[in-house]
Amino acid sequence: MYLTPEQERVLKGGDGWAAAKALEILVRVGEALGAQELVEVKHAHVSGVSYSNIGEYGLEFVRELFKRGGRARVFTTINPGCLDYSGLSKLIDNSYKDRQAIIDSSLISMRFTPIFTCIPYYYRAPAPREHLSWGESSAVIFANSIFGAFTNREGGPIALASAITGYTYKAGLHFLENRVARVLVEIPARLSDTPLGAIGLFMGEAIKEIPLIDFRHGLPPIWDIKVLLASMAASGSHALAIIPGITPRGTYVIDIIEKITVERRDAEEHMGRDPQRDEKVLGYVGCPHLHLFELQAIARILRKYGKPRRGRLLLTIPPELAAKYSGLVQFLISKGVDVGAGTCPVVSRLRSRYDIVVTNSGKAAFYLRRIHGLEVSVRNLREVIEAVYS
């Protein structure tokens, strides 16, 4: 791989052990993936920092990285951890909070920005064609598809290596010629009530190429598109979907060789069953994390309802939202909603057992079914709220 004199200097230890090792990781992985050079990135988003995922060995590693000179060389953000940072949630299990705090303290000492959310694009909107190095598959697909940014799905240590060097390897979606939509996916008008989380799970499994998505009933709200993309990225390894009217031109190429029409039964395979009358239901919205407008929309819907009838509604949001809009959060809590900040049930654990989870998030369904063995239904937002409140 070709390296600039500056990159050679860092590789030889000019900026300490951590940066040298990080650059070597990028070079070695890059070479294995056919990259011929590195590329500067404008923003690194680091995933794989939740103690419940990486445990003591991950904690030791992050500490070492800091102790041996690791420092952010580029704007760097952090994915959710395994604790509720607002202290308001009664559902999120906080028993690892001391261990998570040690990880967090190392990350913050390395000058990573502690947003603890999976929606980093709301903190710094990527520009079209901007090179990024992001972990967190739901954020990657959103950055590429909605903002036209250029990033691969970077696993654990790669985004971390990019954070402390400012580079990533130039391969995959960093090249326009690799951003080719080959499958036209039509979502017919008759599916306008079908949960996009379920459609996303189907698309992730069934489609192996970059899709161009044609919503025959018109573009859904951006929050629903966010859920669709996250679900595709969870059940398949999607990092880019072209949405005409949204994906910036000049950031993709179209070369359609196949057409697929999504049918209701395709989504139904992933929707799960309806909750039964006597079951304890966990309604879950917030995978990916909710934006302020979504939180306000949910609050508006809840004004019409009284207390939860069976189980609870859990919402997960960035900590900053909980801090800045405490009035809104208190209103939701007064309606019996549980609000978790800077975390989610996928990377943390719940304190209570539920018979069934009802969520709009295909991604949450995918992981909760697999990791926690939970029964999950994928439904629309209103149906999720009604499952708990009516």
Binding site: I25, F61, I158
Partner: protein, 113 residues
């Protein structure tokens, strides 16, 4: 090991052993040969932990290398070899009761003894 290993879950880095069902295999100081790795990104940190506990394999030899394994080996300073003729190599190893492996820098090849 003629399979894909998941370092996270199948390796105990504090003791340097690979756990397979009931069996445990001591891998510290040995050349670890396997098809490749799979599983969570935490695997990189497990490989790193092997080095920190002084239990690292002398080298790792695979058919395919994926980023998690590469990252772990870089951090842990464990030489990682990806060999194109994996099957013949494995057969040669299995023919011997004991063998050691040596890397020839000039030839870019692994030699079996």
């Amino acid at each position: 090991m003629d399979r894909y290993i998941s370092f996270f879950g199948e390796v105990d880095p504090s003791r340097g052993v690979l756990k397979l069902g009931d069996r445990e295999l001591d891998i510290s100081g040995k050349a670890l040969v396997m098809r490749g790795t799979r599983g969570s990104t935490v695997g990189s940190y497990i490989v790193y932990a092997l080095r920190r506990h002084g239990k690292a394999p002398s080298c790792i030899i695979v058919k395919e290398a994926e980023p998690i394994l590469i990252a772990g080996c870089v951090l842990a300073d464990i030489p990682l070899f990806v060999i194109s003729d994996y099957e013949p190599f494995v057969n040669s190893v299995l023919e011997r009761r004991r063998c050691s492996v040596k890397y020839d820098h000039e030839m870019g090849a692994l030699a079996l003894y």
